[in-house]
Point group: C2
Chain length 307, copies 2
């Protein structure tokens, strides 16, 4: 099997689209034509989420290379929610999409290994070994330092998986810790970007990017540009486009001269296209997945116009 | 209902024991007399974990105030593992124990709200509201800044729950980011400790500690002492005792002159007491829970000798 970042970049090239669809199924955002079919219980909500996610995947798997389920929106529906998460990941992989789980896990070594087993590797039960959620990439929080990232990197090597490590996040308070200046004059995010570049050395693929990648928000274009220079072999997952305010020309700063180097996340703008000012008159609620496809094509064109 | 930190401190006073039992059920640590009863599958592993956890809870709920399941060790068994997690939390609460979920969650505002709904608050499904895992406390990672912590704090107010926010973790590389000096000369961990103290102002209880609490490792005694001074109303969850090297006299630095202010985590030393050099000759494998009780009493006496 090819390494994870090559699989992702191949898929981006094949679709001509550096977009990842965030699958964050807030219940109140789901179309009533879906939720009304199921009881108002955790099980019913989970079934509605599965139906909705599968419809979006069916309608976009030929034009969007990857999905990014945010696991919080599945955990909040308890055990049935986790089943919906599992089924969503499995279905997207069957349809040929790359799956990036947004879980922002991070813990001391042996615990990090537990998380890594869950999402990337395998769990041992006596002499048996079983893959659990078995996705392509997971997002990781580096606050606890190197020994919390290493077990994930080991599994990336062993199972051809990848990481997106938080370097500079897109939220308003991200600077409180991430922008702090070290005695060297360097910011924390620069320091983390260098660590990520270094951790990724052994996992570079045919496009010269590594499967050990980074999360860098579109909402801080200066930092996005800086980090592109600091970490030239580090691929970026770029959140913050659309609803959070990141503009296409800002996003372009995260890409290289060949138009590679990043994948842009859009969650609400794709998932809820059917409710958006742009598409609500053109599509009925029951055509929600077609509205998502229309928005995906519009976004793809917008991104490609600046890359 | 009393606020979360008062419930926890009441329970510590009632048992005379500032210990939290980490329930991190690594499969290979479980006694064979338990694992052999069940098939070597995810479902079988989950059933073994439930039996083991319940036996430990039964044997210690009168002498240990709280449990701390590390959720990675449940997620790694997939959906059946999450069921075991849910059942463990429920059972411990029924037995009167305080439940602290070690999940180290943290994400941008709306996603943090999703996590908070899952563990502390309630999930809305149309007009229905349902509590999901409904535990007392969750651990939170502050790397993304204030706006990622706020939704958890809101639920703490609304549902009388609490947080343990990572300030200085016990692992070897924790200093890479947490010990960085700011331009003010202060370390990142001091800065985070001050933030936690401030966030907790509105949630102080009858012992003058807040339900917005902190994780501070026993393996860095100087920092533990510093943070006790920086954050006098902040209660500490103290990992790193025992297997990781934290000594009782180090731990005492995190407590106040009344012997309050912290709870000490022990995972392996309690869960696997039956395999330890100290207890393995005295207890048969099938008496694993009694060995845990004996070790809990020994640990309690050791802690009380220095507090």
């Amino acid at each position: 099997m090819k390494n994870a970042i090559d699989r992702l970049i191949d898929k981006i090239k094949e679709t001509g689209n550096p977009t990842v669809m965030g699958l964050d199924p807030r219940y109140e955002m789901l179309p009533e034509c879906v939720t009304n079919k199921y009881p108002k219980t955790l099980e019913g909500a989970a079934q509605a989420i599965i139906e909705y996610n599968k419809a979006l995947i069916d309608e976009t798997c030929d034009i969007i290379p990857a999905i990014k389920p945010q696991i919080a929106f599945y955990e909040m529906f308890g055990v049935p929610g986790m089943k919906a998460f599992e089924e969503t990941c499995k279905y997207a992989k069957e349809k040929g999409m790359i799956v990036i789980v947004d879980a922002k896990r991070g813990d001391i070594g042996s615990t990090a290994a537990g998380y890594s087993n869950a999402y990337l590797g395998k769990t041992k039960i006596g002499d048996m070994e079983e893959a659990i959620f078995d996705v392509d990439f997971i997002t990781v929080n580096p606050y606890m330092g190197t020994d919390c990232v290493k077990p994930f990197i080991e599994d990336c090597k062993k199972y051809n998986k990848g990481l997106f490590i938080l370097v500079k996040t897109s939220n308003p308070s991200s600077g409180e810790l991430q922008d702090i200046k070290l005695e060297s004059g360097e910011e924390v995010y620069t320091n983390v970007a260098k660590l990520v570049e270094k951790w990724g050395e052994e996992l570079r693929g045919e496009y010269n990017y590594s499967s050990i990648a980074a999360v860098v928000g579109a909402t801080y274009p200066k930092q996005l540009e800086d980090i592109r220079k600091t970490a030239p072999h580090t691929f970026f997952l770029i959140p913050g486009y659309g609803a959070q305010g990141g503009k296409p020309e800002d996003i372009a700063l995260g890409f290289d001269k060949n138009g590679l180097g990043g994948i842009v996340n859009a969650s609400r703008s794709l998932m809820c296209a059917y409710k958006s000012d742009r598409w609500k008159d053109e599509f009925q609620e029951s055509d929600y997945a077609k509205a998502t496809r229309a928005e995906a094509i519009r976004m793809k064109e917008e991104l490609n116009s600046v890359l």
